[in-house]
């Protein structure tokens, strides 16, 4: 049970990390697009 919790938490952390990275990228690209127009 604890192992499962551990793996799940690691997965969650990886996911949140990935998400924030992509989100920041999205924001940056949007800013670039606004400038370009």
């Amino acid at each position: 049970m604890n192992d499962l919790l551990g793996i799940m938490l690691v997965t969650l952390i990886i996911w949140v990390g990935l998400f924030s990275y992509v989100y920041r990228l999205d924001r940056k690209v949007r800013r670039l697009q606004m400038e370009d127009l």
Binding site: W15, F19, V22
Partner: protein, 226 residues
């Protein structure tokens, strides 16, 4: 702010919530499947969607390629290239997760069962696609040749996916059957799997739009430099 902009701001957060829920559900809501080693069946919730996305990306790339040949619009070439690069990424993920799963379940990392062969084929096609793109200097010719290759590859896929497995069984009667197809899935497992599928598709679609936007800006800047 226009409504489209507002929606595109909300969707990523929804995706965050959804995937977090799926991750929790994959470990605690869905039961561990019988007939699998311990908890190893849970990798299915991550493996199947990546394979699905890899195939979907291939389809998108081919459609974009056909459109490019018709319209010669640079945007379609961007779509084809982006879809292929995402497809490659997810195909690699699918191969790795599948391989790990195969090791846990059946003891060896690779068995050349039909599914594994299909994903290898997809990997080879993507690699070839990018090798071709790298080898052509002129942008329009690059786009055209890549599009043609994409279509050629697409035409070959039905044969690999549908015809080979039927013949394959007679060749290797002891080949390990891909149990995901055969086992009747517990309804909870099925729910989580579908949810994960939707989540991964959403994630891929998001990555796809970002990548397309970046690429279009990059190309425009390149044009300006020239």
């Amino acid at each position: 702010m226009s409504s489209r902009l507002r929606v595109s701001v909300v969707l990523p957060w929804l995706l965050l919530l959804w995937m977090s829920l799926i991750i929790w559900a994959a470990f605690f809501y869905a039961p561990a499947a019988a007939g699998f080693q311990g908890q190893s069946s849970r990798i299915v919730f991550f493996h199947v969607p990546t394979a699905w996305v890899a195939t979907l990306a291939f389809l998108v790339s081919c459609i974009a390629s056909i459109r490019y040949l018709r319209t010669r619009d640079v945007k379609d070439d961007i779509r084809a290239e982006t879809a292929s690069s995402l497809g490659l990424l997810f195909a690699v993920l699918a191969t790795v997760t599948g391989s790990i799963f195969a090791r846990i379940m059946w003891g060896s990392f690779w068995n050349w069962d039909p599914r594994e062969t299909s994903i290898t084929f997809l990997l080879l096609i993507y690699a070839a696609y990018f090798a071709l793109r790298a080898a052509v200097a002129d942008p329009e010719r690059r786009a055209t040749l890549a599009a043609v290759y994409s279509i050629l590859a697409f035409v070959t896929v039905p044969f690999l996916v549908f015809v080979v497995p039927r013949i394959y069984w007679s060749l290797h009667p002891d080949t390990i059957i891909n149990t995901q197809a055969k086992i009747k899935m517990d309804s909870r497992m099925f729910q989580v799997l579908m949810g994960s599928l939707a989540g991964f598709t959403g994630l891929a679609a998001w990555l796809y739009t970002i990548r397309c936007r970046v690429e279009s800006i990059r190309r425009r800047r390149q044009q300006e430099v020239l």
